[in-house]
Symmetry: C2
């Protein structure tokens, strides 16, 4: 396999993965492109490589900057904007986790703790079961939350060593 083909496959796969996890395919592809690129890329570079419009490129680059996975850089003597992607895979994973936690896990946690306080004057079976399910889901969600919080603070090799040890026995 040639480099060019390999790169294309990587970008394609990243796009497919993204869209299966609620992330715009183009955004994921741009991200892949920036991960594997040594040099900063301009909007035009991305438009060319992915055959997409200026508007599309622009919007998704901005979204990637919002996610703090991509930064703008200035090239001496050049007028146009260039962009570089974060290359540290662990940092990327943590950053994605951070953003999705804030957007999705935190609101669910909030709702679940609210749902614990529903009106229980009459304790029907349905009512009791609902309480139990909400509690169970809440417990799991809290544990996932703790795990993610732990990951944020963890150094990669340390974390995986510890995880490996858990299952080693």
């Amino acid at each position: 396999m040639q480099y060019k083909e390999a790169k294309q496959q990587f970008v394609q796969a990243w796009g497919a993965l993204g869209s299966q996890w609620g992330i715009n395919k183009t955004m994921a592809q741009i991200h892949a492109l920036m991960m594997v690129s040594t040099d900063p890329l301009s909007t035009e570079d991305i438009m060319d490589e992915l055959s997409i419009s200026r508007g599309n490129a622009n919007m998704n680059i901005r979204e990637l900057m919002d996610w703090a996975l991509v930064n703008k850089v200035f090239k001496a003597g050049e007028r146009r904007d260039y962009f570089v992607g974060e290359k540290d895979v662990w940092k990327i994973a943590k950053q994605v986790a951070k953003i999705r936690k804030t957007r999705e896990l935190d609101p669910i946690l909030k709702l679940l703790s609210e749902l614990k306080h529903i009106d229980t004057f009459v304790k029907t079976e349905d009512n009791k079961h609902f309480q139990k399910m909400v509690n169970d889901v809440h417990k799991l969600a809290l544990n996932v939350d703790r795990l993610i919080e732990g990951i944020f603070k963890a150094e990669e090799s340390w974390f995986w060593e510890k995880i490996l040890k858990i299952f080693a026995k």
Copy 2:
């Protein structure tokens, strides 16, 4: 808050969460409904509760059965099909992880190991960097794979205790 409202909120939230993670909203809502329901539900029950068509209900129930999150049950003397959802939240989480691993992580792992063997007769900087990135992503993906495999075998409380201990120090 009343039970009925609480239930609706739970179902809504589950649907929203699902669609942010690449799962059909209706499928997630049906799943939520079945999680909190003590009794088996018929297709009609689901149609009524979610105000959806028969075809839609049928398709998504089948999908949930494919995911092994819902089972068909027979009610004595009744002709129509009834369905029950898995109630064990840990089992649900593991099952979802299992299916998504097979569909998404495994193919990515396969691709990444293939991409390691690209033609390297000429070792450009780009080429070397690509190799490094593929390697880094592969390493992370392998670790995630090991973690998931570990979770499959783990008992819930044991797993969270161990995780908690990692971060306790």
